[in-house]
């Protein structure tokens, strides 16, 4: 049953990684504007992008 110690350690560690990822997202401003990207994705890319390529 000692495998439980290892498994719980892993699960907490994994959860901490996710928490860290959330902190990073929050600090780097990824959650500042949650509305505009949803609109932006509906706009079509145009020839402009093709020219760039």
């Amino acid at each position: 049953m000692s495998i439980i110690y290892f498994l719980i350690g892993c699960s907490v560690l994994l959860a901490l990684v996710f928490l860290g990822a959330f902190f990073w997202a929050q600090r780097s401003g990824q959650n500042d504007d949650l509305y505009t990207p949803g609109m932006r994705i509906l706009l079509d890319d145009e020839e402009e992008n093709r020219v760039k390529k």
Partner: protein
């Protein structure tokens, strides 16, 4: 979104306004004005016509436009506006109120197709902001702003400071605290489950392991997420206030200490999951309460009303000067629709100043050369030149703002229900806990301590602390949907206790274009021309309105022109004797029976009829004044009392109408009412109301465009929401009732918990079930009840 096309009328392809002429055409498309057409030309030239594909008529009308941006070349102003600049690369955040649809978003993010020196643009749709990164060597800020203006998106630069403040505003780490609390809550629950289901003898080792992990999670919750409660409780005790944070902090501390003690002494499992859950829910409640309106500011003052810079004549040339550098002796040029930023003497031009925003006078005032014009007026008509006699910071208007009464700290605001209750709650809670301790002490000391801590744990006012934020935030979003924006959740409770409404007149119960003009009588073309020619000589507001009514006619030269102030005008035109004026002027006697202002017309002693001027009061004034028996209604106007008779229709009590009130008098009136024990709500719109708004128990700024300037207040109401005011008042009363009910519910849970607690036999499982259960009940009850209340008041 502008209206859709109707088959009978042609609407402007750009903005959707009705086209009055078909003079503006391009590519078989109709435009309402030169401005709209030029925007289209620019866009089609740059191959950006997809703009028109995403939405119909995405533009905003360009009919009025006479802005100048010369001042943006001034380095001092530049430094203040730019977020970042290293000589080459510059970054600026601009506030663009016109952003309203996906076309706007699309176009504004394509700016580099107009000018490759613009590297990057990003729109924040809700905040209506545009972040632009550009090469300052190749395109100046002035060119950038002019480009934006050309394509119909004019940034509002005078409100820049607000954006700066908003963006700088402490990015509360509340969300991070919630994340940590939630993370710990989840893990602790997982680790506590085995304990609740019972562990066999072999698994007893896990118990201590889980216990230590729980302590670790508990530490991060208490010292990171919940630390704010200790700080706040400590602050309040030092200032001798018992607010809800004290029992909360006490509960958190007791939970933590008892958990650590139980786990370390192997005497129990502790309450780690209750602890984490409590902090998590409390923080969520706090988060819900923080409602921010990105595009509205409640703290605006005269600075956001004034322009950033003003044109000053120096050595025969016009030069933009930032307001801060404007000194006595400068000669400034003020154009049509510009605001006079400092007290000044009129040197040149015909001044017709609209002071409605500063004094509440509805009619523009004409000034003669050499007269002093106070800051805050808006010039209507031709460009004028003025000499500054006082710097901006010392002008009449600014002084008014800095007046002690206006900046008075608000400490007399009403206490919220929560604040009042939590004081008694804390006292009773501590009394019961001590009582339990003392009762057990003689028999079983250990059990006494158990009972003492259990009471503090179980009675921790989690549900109480959550009922207000959840109800209020639900209420706030209801108000928000109805275009009534409250500064914070406490305002809802203030709204519920209001019993007196005080209203300003100009701009509040009247609308911007408040007067309608009707011709009663028939005039042929020749007669129209005669009257027009006479009225065109006068700058009296009524004459101007008559001229505007006729539109552009040819003016015939007049002779023997005579204007009697307040009565009328007479002149000889083309051989006819034309007289235009009041009853007294035309008939020799006043007619007090008339409720409207009339201007009578007479040509060669033949009476031709009259112009009637009607005041348009805001739609819904009847409903609002219908509140009369329950609410006391007052009118405080800075204007003269020539509308008194008309207003008596709405305000039956003549003693409640006050006219010609200065800003200070308005403030004093509010104070007098408050001294009579009344809870006063002030509705105003202008700078002249700002003192009264501050003094009142609840100041509401009424505005037709929430992006425009409005004085500092507790709430901002869109003019369209005005008829709903009675519903708002009733709804706020409902929400307070909901809070009272949810308080009763949470008390019931507390009593159930206490009955276990005082016996000293509170098991962690009961605590762990009771806490989330009460929280869930409160949240669902308040949300549903608020929803139903809104339905009942027809606000949903």
């Amino acid at each position: 979104m502008p209206e859709t096309l109707t088959p009978t009328k042609t609407n402007c392809y750009h903005c959707g306004e009705e086209c009055l002429t078909n003079a503006y055409q391009k590519d078989q498309k109709q435009f309402c004005c030169q401005g709209c057409r030029s925007v289209y030309t620019i866009l089609s030239g740059a191959g950006l016509c997809s703009y028109y594909n995403y939405n119909e008529h995405p533009g905003t009308t360009r009919l009025r436009n006479d802005k100048r941006y010369d001042y943006l070349s001034d380095p001092a102003i530049l430094a203040e506006l730019l977020d970042y600049s290293d000589g080459r690369l510059s970054i600026i955040t601009l506030y663009i109120p016109q952003i309203h649809c996906s076309s706007c978003l699309w176009l504004l993010e394509q700016l580099n197709r107009f000018n490759p020196a613009i590297h990057y643009c990003r729109v924040d749709f809700l905040k209506k902001q545009l972040i632009v990164r550009f090469d300052a060597e190749k395109i100046s800020l002035q060119q950038l702003v002019e480009l934006l203006n050309d394509i119909g998106y004019e940034p509002l630069i005078s409100l820049q400071d607000i954006i700066k403040k908003q963006n700088k505003a402490v990015k509360g780490n509340l969300i991070q605290k919630i994340a940590v609390a939630g993370f710990c809550f989840g893990n602790v629950m997982l680790l506590s489950f085995p304990e609740y289901f019972g562990l066999s003898a072999i698994e007893q080792d896990f118990k201590t392991f889980f216990g230590y992990l729980n302590i670790l999670f508990g530490i991060s919750v208490v010292f990171y997420s919940g630390w704010g409660y200790f700080l706040s409780a400590w602050h309040n005790i030092r200032s001798r206030i018992l607010n809800i944070d004290f029992p909360l902090a006490l509960g958190i501390a007791v939970l933590f200490i008892r958990t650590v003690a139980e786990i370390l002494t192997h005497s129990g499992a502790g309450f780690a999951d209750t602890l984490c859950g409590l902090v998590f829910f409390l923080l969520v409640g706090k988060f819900v309460q923080q409602k921010t309106y990105h595009h509205i500011s409640f703290e605006r003052d005269y600075r956001s009303f004034f322009p950033v810079a003003v044109q000053v004549i120096r050595e025969g040339r016009e030069k933009p000067v930032p307001l801060a550098h404007l000194c006595t002796g400068h000669r400034m040029v003020i154009r049509h629709n510009e605001i006079i930023p400092a007290d000044a003497i009129l040197l040149k031009g015909e001044a017709l100043i609209d002071f409605s925003f500063v004094t509440g006078e509805a009619v523009p005032v004409s000034k003669t050369l050499g007269e002093i014009i106070y800051a805050g007026g808006r010039q209507t008509g031709e460009a004028i030149e003025l000499e500054v006699i006082k710097p901006v910071s010392q002008s009449y208007l600014t002084q008014l703002w800095n007046n002690e009464a206006f900046t008075r700290k608000q400490d007399t605001r009403m206490k919220t229900f929560n604040e009042r209750v939590s004081k008694y709650f804390t006292i009773v809670l501590v009394a019961i806990a001590t009582g339990a301790l003392l009762a057990w002490m003689p028999f079983d000391f250990r059990r006494g301590i158990d009972a003492f801590t259990a009471v503090l744990i179980v009675a921790c006012p989690c549900a109480l602390a959550l009922s207000t934020p959840f109800t209020m935030s639900a209420a706030l979003s209801i108000f928000d949907r109805n275009l009534f924006y409250l500064k914070n959740t406490a305002v809802v409770e203030q709204l519920a206790r209001i019993d007196t409404l005080v209203m300003d007149k100009t701009g509040t119960i009247t609308t911007g274009s408040s007067k309608r003009i009707d011709l009663d009588g028939e005039l042929n073309v020749a007669e129209r021309q005669l009257i027009y020619s006479v009225c065109a000589n006068s700058i009296h507001p009524l004459s101007r309105m008559i001229c505007h009514y006729f539109g552009d006619l040819d003016k015939i030269s007049t002779s023997g022109y005579r204007e009697i102030p307040g009565k009328g005008i007479a002149a000889m035109v083309g051989g006819y004797r034309v007289r235009v004026g009041s009853d007294e002027f035309i008939f020799g006697q006043a007619n007090p029976g008339n409720l409207t202002t009339r201007v009578h017309l007479m040509i060669d002693e033949i009476y031709l009829g009259y112009f009637g001027f009607h005041h348009d009061y805001r739609a819904g004034l009847e409903q609002v004044t219908g509140l009369a028996p329950d609410y006391k209604l007052y009118l405080l106007s800075g204007d003269q009392d020539h509308e008194r008779t008309e207003l008596l229709r709405f305000f039956p009590d003549n003693g409640h109408l006050f006219f010609s009130q200065s800003p200070q008098q308005k403030l004093d009136r509010i104070r007098q009412l408050q001294e009579q024990g009344l809870k006063v709500m002030m509705l105003g719109d202008g700078l002249n109301d700002s003192g009264a708004l501050k003094q009142s128990d609840l100041g509401v700024a009424v505005t037709d465009n929430v992006n425009n300037f409005s004085p500092g207040s507790d709430a901002i109401m869109d003019g369209r929401a005005f008829p709903k005011l009675p519903a708002f008042l009733r709804f706020s009363k409902d929400t307070v009732r909901i809070i009272h009910l949810s308080f009763l519910i949470s008390l019931t849970y507390n009593v159930i918990g206490l009955s276990y607690a005082v016996t000293g036999t509170l098991s962690p499982l009961i605590a762990a079930v009771l806490m989330p259960l009460s929280t869930a009940t409160i949240i669902s009850f308040t949300t549903l009840a608020t929803h139903f209340a809104a339905k009942k008041r027809e606000l949903l």
